[in-house]
Symmetry: C2
Subunit: 149 residues, 2 copies
């Protein structure tokens, strides 16, 4: 199904909530109770988002989490890669080691292009787009095949 992990799904919910909320800094526990996601799980996700520079954290009392940039500047690609690592469909798109199929596999370059296309698509959608109420058919069409012919 080419699916996103559950944690990534939660992350979008959490970030959407944070984008809509006026408050600048929110504690993990607040977020948990507002979104209905279990607190330890929320914390785990928030930490990952901090590591990927999507969120900024403040320690200590009165501490919490805040968006590192405006919702317009946070791409869906950034969120996904924060939770799941580099966006790539196949192993060999990330590192070219250990991918020698017996009969010589020349697929690499082409998969790379596909990955690039998908990455572009995800890069072009921001958190602001996700929170926008009704989807504006802002067609993000990238004709990959045309790049070959």
């Amino acid at each position: 199904m080419l699916r996103l992990s559950k944690l990534t799904d939660y992350a979008t919910v959490i970030l959407s909530f944070m984008a809509k909320d006026k408050t600048q800094v929110l504690a993990a526990m607040e977020i948990a109770s507002m979104t209905g996601i279990a607190q330890p799980t929320v914390s785990k996700i928030l930490k990952l988002l901090v590591n990927a520079n999507v969120l900024i954290s403040t320690r200590g009392a009165k501490g919490g989490y805040a968006l590192a940039r405006t919702p317009e500047e946070i791409s869906v690609a950034a969120v996904i890669s924060a939770l799941e690592g580099p966006i790539a469909l196949t192993e060999c798109s990330i590192s070219h080691q250990g991918c020698e199929q017996a009969s010589g596999c020349d697929i690499r370059g082409n998969w790379g292009l596909i990955n690039q296309t998908i990455h572009n698509a995800l890069e072009s959608v921001t958190l602001a787009d996700l929170t926008r109420p009704a989807a504006v058919p802002e067609e993000v069409f990238v004709p990959v095949a045309s790049l070959y012919r």
Copy 2:
């Protein structure tokens, strides 16, 4: 990582091999020995591809598998959905049941758009594109730096 399953990866290797091979009909065992993938696994994949109308099978002695269409007419999207089901990042893009996040989730429409975009990208690349020798310079691989900016 937004990754493809290993079986899907194998499927592309198998199909690439079949596309390049002159022979019309290939037995599962032949494919296994040529690609180096274990025979039972190859069979499993071939069966799935038949069910999805990507391959056509012939039973009995001298039987085997053949591409259902020309490589130009077999999209990567078709291959992926044969192995992994509908191409969609989130559950609620497939069926809209049971996705009511406490605070009212209006994400659907927008995820739908993202899914559509990715689907378009995968639909536009064919098996012929994958087998094409060295389509692109190395530079096309996903620029990891952009994931963290």
